[in-house]
């Protein structure tokens, strides 16, 4: 679609509006609204950046890599000596920290000649030979707004030295290899060599002599490294411990009494393998691993703080249920990733908003991207979060560190970050998400859909009306806007905050657009606005006197500047304005006249069935017309306002009306009679988004274009994306077998969850600052096996948990702990503490109270009463994460979490001691049928230990318990005993 069609203009024929409205609504629905606070942060972007890419120098120099300048002049020895003795030390001591190789405040670095010449983000800081015109000197002389260095003025002698240096033409020794540049080169060289970016190798399995320990080839990697450390592996864990370990790691649930009896009675040599197959086939497996993935996917049932819209992600659970099903079905991991990043672009589930897809099921996988926090509506933050979850979550790479500058450690350029920004900015959430299951062919559903269409129509009509009013107002109230923009000169920018206006006020966003427009025209002599700026600079008190002189001067012909627009000249020749108001009125009158002419021309063409005119014939008139209709025209608010659309409604009355109409749509979608569940899908916008770098991460300061492309460090051969937003190509790059990170990161996650620590112990950071793998060959071996096994997760699980390393006992051995206290070489199994979910689930299970139903809407389950659902079905509110969960180290759902903390604090103990839920569990355990069947205290004790710990009680344990039960001072002793056993370490820690 042509870009021009992406805008509302006064002349747009009514018949073509409909599809555009749909798009507009769809686009603003990117965030179904929030927007307000930081709205304007994006505003300027929106304004400065229509959906067309502005022309930009194709080879803008990239910061940080100064190139040799062939034109470096020759300097005298004196000049160079002056530089070395008087200037370089000053630069190094006072400027280097913030303007050197490591840090470039405001984009400025002062450690090479080229860098000094290039200047800051804002432009040059030096005028060669002219210290008085150099802003660097103004800054150190503390004459302007920028005062440097920040902690105090330089000694006058140093300032003079800098001035002389500039006068001398910036002497710098020729051919000096810029230290900074070589630093940068060394860094990027190191980055290229970094282990994680090398292709996954397939290492030979080590031969270990006299190996009677290994069960799987992977064990031999462990055994070899143990031998190198002169460590021995531990013996195999007791079968009871093994059963418990396998049950929790594969299903998140304790073994039942029956499972215990079966396993202990199974004397076949492959009893463990059989058990593992059984556990992997259990539906509980998907639940267990879905929860691990939900940490990575920062799953939440709410958006966080919102202004107008509903704060709930009503259908978030469909994503959770997708995960459970995918893990249970063992969907190949590459497919699993493709679906979560781009299900809308895959055959079968293809969805572009025009029709419901043939097979909607995979669309719910897109919750991985869409369930972001809303950051009070700031779209840049939402996109940043999506980049983070996709890169740190799937590649173990901290790409979002490159939001404000090139990544300081890893080879990720800021331009690459904004390439990905473009991918996600060109993807949108539809106002009305697609159905999660095919539409029912019923009258009830048809009635529902008809009502939905009605409410949606009302919302869209309202938005269209408001937009039209804004555009019309911007053209008809030119004088007021010009004056308001004029008045806002020198005022602090209001781009970064939410403004509330009165209904008939000028629209603050439109004022900002006019201000930006005027600022742009001030940068070079402009035939229309040169005169305006000249007059605008005259102080009010002298205005009447000086204005006529200024007008005469500006209208006079001069070879050094373009002539003033003839129509403007004509209007001003005789004018003797006394105030800027009159100047604004004159401009406005002229523009209004042109507007009428133009509208008449468009109307005439329409009634004659001619194509609409491309412009006005008279060049001067056309120049004026373009103020109102040109590519940068302030009134012509682009339709693609995206999430910034609330600029349409800065007044409370409109906001109220909007909120009501939105709520009508939302409430019907969510709870209208016959409302079906929907998938929180994403789809491509009609036009891809061509991003540019935000200098310093500031959306108001645009840098070079950033092509949508994959990370070159990960795939040096990747090409710019071609198709739509590029999201599918991005997904394919991640899911590609040759991607050096994807398989390694996932293998590491499995190892981490099964064994208690990763092979890479920073599972969210495989970059240069992450820890290198303890067993690089093993990691690659497992990754290559994962790929050979067609990305089957269950196969990988099976290998890991049937291995000898996994089967080791977890007991501490003094001689080994001295050598390797952190168990980096795997001389034993790590004892594991259960996370909150399996901990709570285990309590429900032993109380014979676990509801094994799968899926469905999230429920509130943290009250005193027992809600028997598994903990992963609990409702998670980002804005108010239940303190109980946080107390038990539930990760912050604001961000992707690679690994949970494990803290031990008294409130956890208080919960166990005093919470009503735990008491109720203890009560139910005490009356468990298996216990009730036993009459002797000793036999009861045995059953209790089997039920809770999966093993028999020792003699002394039995004695303790029996004595406690017989104590006449204790009320309801078996309840107390069960409670104590639930609180005990053995219930929480897995050997």
């Amino acid at each position: 679609m042509r870009t021009t069609a992406a805008r509302f203009t006064a002349g747009t024929p009514a018949t073509t509006i409909e599809p555009k409205i749909m798009r507009f609504v769809a686009v603003f629905a990117v965030k179904l609204v929030t927007v307000l606070v930081a709205m304007s942060a994006a505003l300027a972007t929106v304004f400065a950046q229509p959906s067309v890419v502005l022309a930009a120098p194709p080879n803008a120099p990239s910061a940080g890599e100064p190139s040799a300048d062939p034109a470096t002049p020759q300097f005298s020895a004196d000049a160079l000596r002056h530089f070395e003795q008087r200037v370089r030390p000053v630069l190094a001591r006072h400027c280097g920290e913030c303007h050197g190789a490591l840090k470039q405040e405001s984009g400025l670095r002062l450690d090479t000649r080229n860098a000094v010449l290039r200047g800051a983000d804002s432009g040059p800081v030096i005028t060669l030979g002219k210290p008085a015109e150099s802003s660097l000197i103004a800054a150190v002389r503390r004459q302007g707004a920028i005062k440097m260095p920040p902690d105090g003025p330089l000694p006058p002698a140093d300032i003079q030295a800098l001035e002389r240096w500039i006068e001398n033409g910036l002497p710098w020794p020729p051919g000096e290899p810029a230290a900074a540049a070589s630093d940068a080169q060394a860094r990027s060289e190191a980055a290229r060599r970094h282990w994680a970016f090398q292709p996954v190798q397939r290492p030979a399995v080590p031969e270990v002599s006299a190996d009677r320990w290994s069960r799987d080839p992977l064990d031999r990697f462990i055994l070899q490294s143990l031998a190198a450390q002169q460590l021995e592996p531990s013996s195999e864990a007791a079968r009871t411990a093994l059963l418990r370990r396998l049950s929790f790691t594969l299903t998140g649930l304790p073994p039942t009494l029956d499972a215990l009896a079966d396993f202990l009675g199974d004397e076949r040599p492959d009893a463990v393998e059989r058990l593992v197959d059984q556990l992997l086939a259990s539906p509980a497996h998907g639940e267990r691993w879905a929860r691990h993935w939900m940490d990575v996917a920062r799953y939440s049932d709410t958006k966080g703080y919102v202004f107008f819209e509903d704060k709930n992600y009503t259908w978030a659970y469909t994503y959770r249920d997708y995960l459970i099903e995918a893990f249970n079905r063992d969907v190949p991991y590459d497919q699993f990733l493709l679906e979560q990043l781009a299900a809308d672009k895959l055959t079968g589930s293809r969805y572009d908003g025009s029709a419901e897809p043939a097979d909607p099921r995979p669309l719910r996988a897109l919750g991985f991207l869409t369930l972001s926090p809303h950051f009070m509506g700031n779209n840049h933050d939402i996109i940043d979060d999506r980049i983070d979850v996709a890169t740190r979550g799937l590649l173990g790479l901290t790409v979002t560190c490159a939001r404000c500058h090139d990544h300081k450690y890893d080879p990720v350029a800021q331009r690459e970050y904004y390439g990905l920004y473009g991918v996600f900015r060109g993807s949108e959430e539809p106002t009305v998400p697609p159905l999660d299951t095919p539409a029912p062919d019923t009258d009830a559903y048809r009635a529902f859909a008809a009502e939905l269409a009605k409410r949606r129509g009302a919302l869209e009509a309202f938005v269209q009306r408001k937009h039209q009013a804004l555009v019309d107002g911007a053209r008809s109230r030119v004088a007021e806007y010009l004056l308001a923009a004029h008045a806002s000169r020198g005022q602090p920018a209001t781009d970064d905050f939410m403004l509330i206006a009165d209904p008939n006020d000028l629209n603050p966003a439109m004022v900002a657009r006019w201000r930006i427009y005027l600022e742009k025209t001030a940068r070079r002599p402009d035939p229309l606005w040169r005169l305006w700026h000249r007059l605008a600079d005259i102080p009010e008190t002298r205005f009447a006197d000086e204005a006529p002189i200024a007008i005469a001067d500006e209208l006079a012909a001069s070879p050094s500047r373009p002539a003033v627009n003839p129509r403007l000249a004509e209007r001003f020749t005789e004018l003797r304005p006394r105030t800027m108001n009159e100047v604004a009125a004159a401009y406005a009158e002229l523009l209004r006249g042109i507007d009428s002419t133009w509208r008449a021309a468009v109307e005439a063409a329409r009634s004659d069935h001619r194509a609409p005119p491309g412009g006005l014939e008279d060049a001067a008139a056309e120049q004026l017309r373009r103020v109102l209709y040109g590519p940068d025209a302030p009134p012509d608010v682009p339709v693609l306002l995206g999430w910034g659309f609330l600029t349409l409604l800065p007044d409370r009355a409109s906001q109220g009306e909007y909120q009501k109409l939105l709520k009508d749509v939302e409430s019907h979608l969510i709870s209208g009679a016959g409302a079906p569940p929907r998938a929180l899908a994403l789809r491509d916008s009609a036009t891809p988004f061509d991003a540019r770098v935000f200098l310093r991460g500031n959306p108001n300061r645009l840098g070079e274009p950033a092509p949508r492309q994959f990370l070159l460090a990960v795939n040096p051969r990747s090409e710019p994306f071609q198709e739509g937003s590029g999201r599918l190509e991005f997904a394919r790059e991640i899911a590609r077998a040759s991607n050096p990170l994807t398989a390694r990161v996932m293998v590491n996650r499995l190892w981490l969850h099964h064994l208690g620590a990763g092979i890479v112990r920073t599972p969210g950071d495989f970059g240069l600052r992450g820890e290198p793998p303890t067993h690089p060959l093993l990691l690659d071996y497992l990754a290559s096996e994962f790929l050979r096994g067609d990305w089957s997760l269950k196969s990988l699980h099976r290998r890991l948990v049937t291995s000898a390393v996994f089967r080791q006992a977890s007991v501490e051995r003094p001689e080994a702990i001295g050598t390797d206290p952190e168990n980096r070489w795997w001389w034993r199994m790590n004892p594991r503490r259960l996370e909150f979910e399996p901990f709570r689930d285990a309590m429900l299970a032993v109380a014979d109270s676990l509801d094994r139903r799968q899926g469905g809407p999230s429920v509130n389950l943290l009250g005193d009463a027992i809600v028997p659902r598994r903990t992963l079905y609990g409702f998670i509110d980002r804005l108010d994460v239940p303190p109980l969960l946080t107390t038990f180290d539930f990760p912050n759902p604001a961000q992707s979490s690679p690994q949970r903390d494990q803290t031990t604090v008294p409130p956890q103990a208080l919960f166990m001691m005093n919470n009503g839920f735990v008491h109720e569990v203890a009560k139910r355990v005490a009356i468990h049928p298996a216990l009730a069947a036993e009459s002797s205290p000793a036999a009861r004790t045995q059953r209790l230990f089997e039920l809770l710990y999966g093993r028999a009680a020792t003699v002394s344990e039995q004695e303790r318990v029996v004595a406690f039960a017989a104590d006449p001072m204790v009320n309801a002793p078996w309840e107390r005993i069960a409670h104590a056993l639930l609180m005990a370490n053995e219930f929480l820690f897995i050997d």
Partner: protein, 484 residues
């Protein structure tokens, strides 16, 4: 590894059995802190992904800062909604002259449209030897403590909207999820009392806006988040979750815990006493004691009548009595809010609303400062008073009785904790709109607060998602003039 975090107490070699018996005798708490704290030397909890290291045991063990601290604890009196500086601590007589007229200077744009200047309906006078000018709204505080106040009249924030400004003041960032300052402080210093939360946030009647994000730990471990207390309740046992147990008498619970510890003991013996097992075993003893100690700490009625009379009636008096009791018992960071929602947000009817709010605060604050001082706590306790921003000197027309949000210039004050008393720092312009002299950004306030607590704000960091985060992000300068 963060070598900047060290342990206060040297490790003491106690056998587990000794430790247990001491716990039974009630002196085991610090011993536990030492035992577990000692392990933190091996591996400080300074980044994500440390897994099941012993470092995560008892994350609240006391730690020493980078250098000698001036303050050991912080109490933040949060006037949420934004109190007006020109009606409290920043007198602007020129507003009288322009009352009802447009300002002769630029009218800065804030959230809503404002028009004419509005004079302060309140009288200012000079107090103390310092002669600080303070309005009648805080007359008692001023009369008794003017010479202890360090009034920053040149505060600045980023935007005039509540939500991001609350986040900025509390977490140093307007939108993204970052730990709150209380979390940072407890992360840095631990807590002096293992029987109480290290960071308590009291807000009567429910949450302020953006709710629990104001005291979240974000990516820091959950142990550092603020414990929310609805200070509307007067029964101490309602204030903290799971503190009481109606089903079980204390003796029954003691018996039960003895059984538990016996079982844990056997369990640990079979496993050569792994540190995480020991740590968890200790928390039950701590929790057992916490039940009585925390209940006692929150029970303001244990104070003598005359002292309660000094604080006066009302919720804030009660909150501040509790705050003092908590600080005295070693709680590191206490935040006391004005109430649910945004009480100080007086767009209209400001005279009546501000008067009513300050009446609820002035007397308790005066008594609170006196109480801290009298106990010798003030000099080591940093008191911070202020909102998320201030208010405009101009009114929202057509009424002339309320003020809009103002982030360009506002006032906070500090007291105790090594700050320079009787001092007004910086200035707003002649109308009180914008900070023009020695502006102090919220980041600078945070940097100064951390400095007073003994931290280089640029070095109190936590690595998360590839970055070393800090409270002041990439900003913040210590303001030396604020320090005595």
């Amino acid at each position: 590894m963060d070598s900047s975090l060290r342990i206060v107490q040297p490790p003491i070699n106690l056998s587990r059995r000794e430790l247990l018996s001491r716990c039974g005798m009630g002196v085991g708490l610090m011993a536990a802190a030492q035992l577990l704290g000692a392990e933190q030397q091996a591996s400080s909890p300074n980044s994500e992904g440390s897994g099941l290291s012993p470092a995560r045991a008892l994350p609240l063990a006391p730690r020493r800062p980078h250098f000698a601290a001036r303050a050991e604890r912080v109490v933040h009196l949060f006037m949420n909604g934004g109190p007006s500086q020109v009606d409290t601590f920043d007198p602007k007589p020129l507003l009288e002259q322009y009352h009802g007229k447009p300002l002769p200077a630029t009218n800065l744009r804030t959230e809503r449209k404002t028009g004419a200047a509005m004079r302060s309906p309140f009288k200012f006078q000079r107090y103390g030897q310092s002669g600080l000018e303070i309005s009648e709204l805080f007359a008692r505080t001023a009369a008794t403590h003017a010479d202890e106040l360090c009034v920053i009249r040149s505060m600045q924030a980023d935007v005039p909207n509540h939500e991001p400004s609350l986040m900025l003041m509390n977490c140093g960032e307007g939108r993204q999820s970052r730990p709150s300052m209380g979390s940072w402080v407890v992360y840095g210093l631990g807590s002096e009392n293992q029987n109480l939360p290290g960071f308590v946030a009291m807000c009567p009647g429910g949450y302020p806006i953006v709710s629990t994000q104001n005291w979240r730990s974000s990516f820091l471990p959950g142990a550092y988040q603020g414990t929310y207390v609805n200070s509307q309740h007067t029964d101490a046992r309602q204030l903290i979750a799971n503190l009481g147990n109606a089903r079980l008498s204390s003796t029954d619970q003691r018996r039960q815990l003895d059984l538990l510890q016996g079982l844990n003991e056997e369990h640990a013996t079979r496993r050569s006493h792994a540190a995480p097992l020991e740590a968890r075993l200790q928390t039950f003893e701590l929790a057992y004691r916490m039940q009585s100690e925390a209940a006692e700490a929150f029970d303001f009625q244990r104070e003598p009548r005359w002292l309660l009379d000094d604080y006066g009636p009302g919720t804030h008096a009660r909150q501040l009595v509790i705050a003092r009791r908590l600080l005295e018992r070693g709680v590191r960071f206490v935040q006391v809010w004005s109430g649910a929602g945004q009480p100080w947000d007086n767009h209209s009817d400001l005279e009546k609303q501000h008067r009513s709010l300050s009446e609820q605060w002035d007397r308790p604050i005066a008594a609170f400062l006196a109480d801290l001082k009298q106990r010798g706590l003030l000099e080591s306790t940093l008191v911070l008073w202020g909102g998320e921003f201030g208010r405009t000197p101009v009114a929202e027309l057509p009424q002339l009785n309320g003020r809009d949000h103002n982030h360009y210039g506002f006032t906070c004050w500090l007291a105790g904790g090594g700050v320079r008393g009787g001092y007004a720092h910086g200035a707003t312009d002649e109308f009180g709109f914008r900070a023009v002299d020695k502006p102090v950004h919220v980041h600078d306030l945070h940097a100064t607060m951390l400095h007073l607590l003994g931290f280089h704000h640029e070095q109190l960091t936590y690595r998360y998602a590839g970055r070393d985060y800090r409270l002041t992000d990439v900003h913040g300068r210590v303001v030396p003039e604020l320090i005595a």
